[in-house]
């Protein structure tokens, strides 16, 4: 049995210690907002926060997160940065198919939480691990800047 702190609540799960957090969230806990895209930390769709840091949950074993705070897309709107990012995403209608956007928003929220006024290079660094096949990158960049204005 492993106790995980997910979105401020302790959840007990009975899973192998090498099981990636992604599948624990999706298939065991039932939080499906975090997405599977590649399984190799190449696309960022599975991004969650671990003690506020963005991590790729598809390659992070559950053993590595016990005792730490996991935040997922379902709760990121409760953080000041996450709320601003979600609002900017709505204001600029960033999404298209939307599948990668949970991961995009998690990466963008982590960026804004540590850097209130990111420049283009900061955005490139923080966001280049998140793939969007619909090509919403120009709007993601604009939305991060807009969210920062409200910071």
């Amino acid at each position: 049995m492993t106790i995980l702190n997910i979105n401020g609540r302790d959840v007990t799960v009975d899973v192998p210690s090498d099981m990636p957090v992604l599948w624990v969230l999706r298939d065991v806990v039932g939080l499906t907002g975090t997405k599977f895209g590649c399984g190799m930390a190449l696309c960022g769709a599975c991004t969650v926060h671990l003690d506020g840091q963005p991590i790729r949950s598809c390659v992070t074993p559950v053993a590595a997160v016990a005792g730490k705070k996991i935040t997922t897309i379902e709760a990121i709107g409760d953080t000041p940065a996450g709320k601003k990012v979600q609002q900017a995403w709505l204001d600029l209608d960033v999404v298209q198919c939307g599948y990668c956007q949970s991961g995009q928003i998690m990466s963008a929220s982590a960026l804004l939480a540590k850097n209130a006024h990111p420049g283009d290079t900061d955005i490139d660094e923080a966001m280049s691990g998140n793939i969007c096949r619909c090509g919403t990158y120009p709007r993601i960049r604009a939305a991060i800047k807009q969210a920062a204005k409200g910071a």
Partner: protein
């Protein structure tokens, strides 16, 4: 008028979001009918057609005949209906349509299909008419109740009013009475001058759910007793399972069952991790079959040999061959584009529950009725025993126009007790896709002494996707998709001959990929136009412009893009600007100017793309811009790096490290300029992608002097 039964739809619950907007909720696993009751929906008192239902509680539900895969359809279609129905977008709720070709056929193909940039083109009139019909019936019901002339009443924001007396009734109040009004055969649509929604930038109705993780995709389906499966197909395409040793896999905690079929092995487990571990622990011996030695080189050899035969004439104007022979200058070239995978962000997946008396399927499909048909075929059950629940699609790009993955999922589910979600790993998704064909085109032109083209021949060589996918559309040896854009050449050239030569790939399955036939043709045509301009020693924009006297809309987008891009302004060394112009069966005009920088190592950095688009009547201008932006990004990935190659019968690419796609740090500044007019609406999902490769290749030529006739660009630059 038929209205489909509630039982087919009871999985969908639509909840109005507290802050406005919409929630399209998917209540899966609740088949008792409680879902409908739980949503608090009154029975649809007024259902004048298959798209609109208005309850006595005033709830306006719009049934979406086309699916949402990012292209903004769940905003544009409500706009079309709401404009004529006279309701606000904040007053409607959306439902996915169930599979039903009678009610929801796309007129382009005659069955339920979202693709070919056709939704607005095909449904602009029908959906407006559906809204107007309902409006007329509601007004008639109100006029009867008030005993006044219907023409003295008007409708707005879900209310009918009679200004002379100040009387008002809501659509909910009128729903029962409107249902008794005969459906009018003809209705008058609004004058576009009085549109309040169409043509205005409306916010996407699917945004709120997509920013908080609640938007339901098929991969998110949860059901009581649901098992998760993942699968392996033969690494050599077309191979069969020879033997399976599953002893180690079965020992892995959470693994429940190994399903061995002729062509695949699936591991069924409690969760995806156990399924993946189980799959890795299997020892599968494959009978590799006849493709075990096939490589891309073999494919190209086959194409090259086939390309020397004349094709079937798709467009003929004058005697082009003779005119080329007699021309002052002749140019000819071979252009090639590679196989491409779709790599939708949501890997293909499908959940199926096969019972003795029925089959239930949860998927995200661009061809819903085909999913129902394949479920029936595989299970042997009558089609009406197959219930299909559609979802938001985590990317389509043509991938979900195929039902290969649903078919496999149903075959696996037949062997499993209870519901099973079959999820392809990214590797299986890329290595067993239905690929954009390898096309191999021969093109030639004759020039006058002044450099003006006097004749043009273009032989398109590739498989016919239509012959497999929509057989009636393949006529007289011609595939209208493969030649789309090529036969629409807008330049004023006296003699033109376009031919199509069908050449099926024996190994790889091929299908539609965003931009379809036009994507390859536009690369060929617009690169070759650039070659002609270079031989004529003329500016590429001016050269094209001189040939567009009879195509004012094409000339207009070219002018807008050229001006906005600063065409002709000097660029630093190593930089280049390239232009492309597009027109095709989508009835949309696009011009793009790309600005690139090419390093000595052959790396291409795209700095800026300026795009002008004329798609006639615009429904949602922000969606048009978004589709151009996204289409260009998709096009850049394909043109710079996209390539699926074969070695020993195996697809060599497997995940995003070797099937490279554009990322944030590589994305150029993109500007989209709309050229607006009242022409009929054209498609916008694909033209942005289709026009990109040529603009990039032409920019690379401007930067380096190297003419790239084979994609992807970077591989060619690096191989010298």
């Amino acid at each position: 008028m038929t209205s489909h039964t509630v039982s087919r739809r009871d999985f969908v619950v639509v909840l109005t979001a507290a802050g406005g907007g919409l929630l399209l909720g998917c209540r899966v696993g609740d088949r008792s009918g409680a879902a409908t009751a739980a949503a608090g929906a009154a029975p649809p008192a007024f259902a004048p057609n298959a798209f609109i239902r208005i309850g006595t509680d005033g709830r306006v539900t719009l049934v979406m005949p086309q699916v949402e895969m990012g292209q903004g359809m769940y905003t544009s279609m409500p706009m079309l209906i709401a404009e004529e129905l006279e309701v606000g977008l904040d007053q409607v709720q959306l439902e996915h349509a169930p599979p039903n070709d009678k009610l929801y056929a796309n007129p382009l193909v005659g069955f339920q299909m979202t693709g070919a940039s056709s939704s607005v083109r095909m449904l602009y009139q029908p959906l407006r008419k559906a809204g107007a019909t309902a409006r007329v019936m509601l007004i008639t019901a109100a006029a009867q109740r008030w005993n006044v002339d219907p023409t003295s009443c008007n409708a707005a924001k879900g209310m009918v009013s009679h200004p002379a007396t100040g009387k008002k009734l809501s659509y909910g109040d009128l729903a029962d009475a409107a249902a008794k009004v005969p459906v009018p055969a003809e209705v008058t649509l609004k004058d576009p001058k009085s549109f309040t929604l169409i043509g205005t930038p409306a916010k996407r109705l699917d945004s709120p759910q997509k920013v908080n993780g609640t938007a339901p995709y098929s991969i998110d389906v949860r059901l009581p007793g649901l098992k998760i499966a993942t699968l392996a197909e033969s690494p050599v395409l077309g191979g069969k399972v020879a033997s399976v040793d599953d002893s180690k896999a079965k020992a892995i905690p959470g693994v429940r069952q190994i399903v061995r079929l002729e062509d695949l092995v699936a591991v069924v487990a409690d969760h995806m991790w156990a399924a993946k571990q189980g799959l890795a622990a299997l020892t599968i011996r494959w009978d590799e079959g006849p493709n075990a030695k096939v490589s891309t080189e073999d494919v190209v050899k086959g194409l090259d040999a086939a390309s020397r035969t004349p094709g079937v004439v798709a467009r003929k104007q004058g005697d082009a061959a003779a005119a080329i022979t007699g021309a002052a200058k002749k140019l000819e070239a071979v252009y090639q584009v590679p196989f491409l995978a779709h790599a939708t962000m949501e890997p293909v997946n499908c959940t199926v529950h096969v019972r003795k008396d029925g089959c239930e399927v949860w998927t995200g499909s661009q061809v819903l009725s085909r999913v129902q048909a394949t479920a029936a075929q595989v299970t042997g059950l009558p089609p009406e025993k197959g219930v299909v629940h559609n979802h938001l699609l985590g990317g389509g790009f043509g991938r979900r126009l195929e039902v290969d993955f649903e078919t496999k999922a149903v075959r696996i589910a037949k062997e499993v007790e209870g519901p099973v979600k079959v999820v392809w790993t990214r590797e299986e998704d890329i290595q067993h896709d239905v690929y954009r064909p390898y096309y191999y085109d021969r093109i030639a032109a004759g020039l006058s002494p002044e450099g003006r083209p006097v004749a043009w021949t273009h032989r398109v060589l590739g498989p016919s996707i239509l012959a497999r996918w929509a057989p009636p559309a393949f006529k007289d040896g011609l595939d209208g998709d493969a030649t789309d854009g090529a036969v629409h050449l807008v330049y004023d050239i006296p003699a033109i001959q376009v031919e199509y030569l069908r050449h099926e790939e024996p190994v790889l399955g091929t299908g539609f990929w965003r931009g379809v036939g036009v994507t390859h043709n536009n690369f060929v045509i617009e690169s070759f136009m650039d070659e002609l301009a270079a031989v004529a020693n003329q500016d590429p924009v001016a050269y094209r412009r001189a040939l567009l006297a009879k195509a004012p809309r094409a000339r207009a987008v070219l002018d807008v893009a050229a001006k906005a891009s600063g065409w002709g302004r000097k660029l630093p060394a190593g930089y280049g600007r390239g232009v492309s112009l597009l027109y095709s069966g989508w009835d949309t005009y696009v011009a793009q100017v790309a600005e690139v920088e090419v390093s000595k190592a052959g790396e291409v950095r795209v700095h800026r793309v300026v795009c002008a688009v004329d798609c006639g009547t615009v429904i949602n201008p922000d969606t048009v811009k978004a589709q151009m932006e996204g289409g260009i990004v998709f096009g850049i990935s394909g043109a710079l790096w996209g390539e699926i190659t074969l070695k020993n019968g195996r697809v060599e690419q497997s995940n995003f490290h070797n099937y490279r796609v554009l990322r944030m740090n590589e994305t150029p500044a993109i500007e989209v300029h709309l050229v607006r007019n009242g022409e009929a609406p054209g498609g916008i999902g694909e033209p942005g992608t289709a026009a990109t490769a040529a603009a990039l290749a032409n920019a690379v030529f401007a930067a380096t002097g190297k003419r790239i006739r084979k994609l992807p660009l970077e591989r060619q630059l690096r191989s010298g």
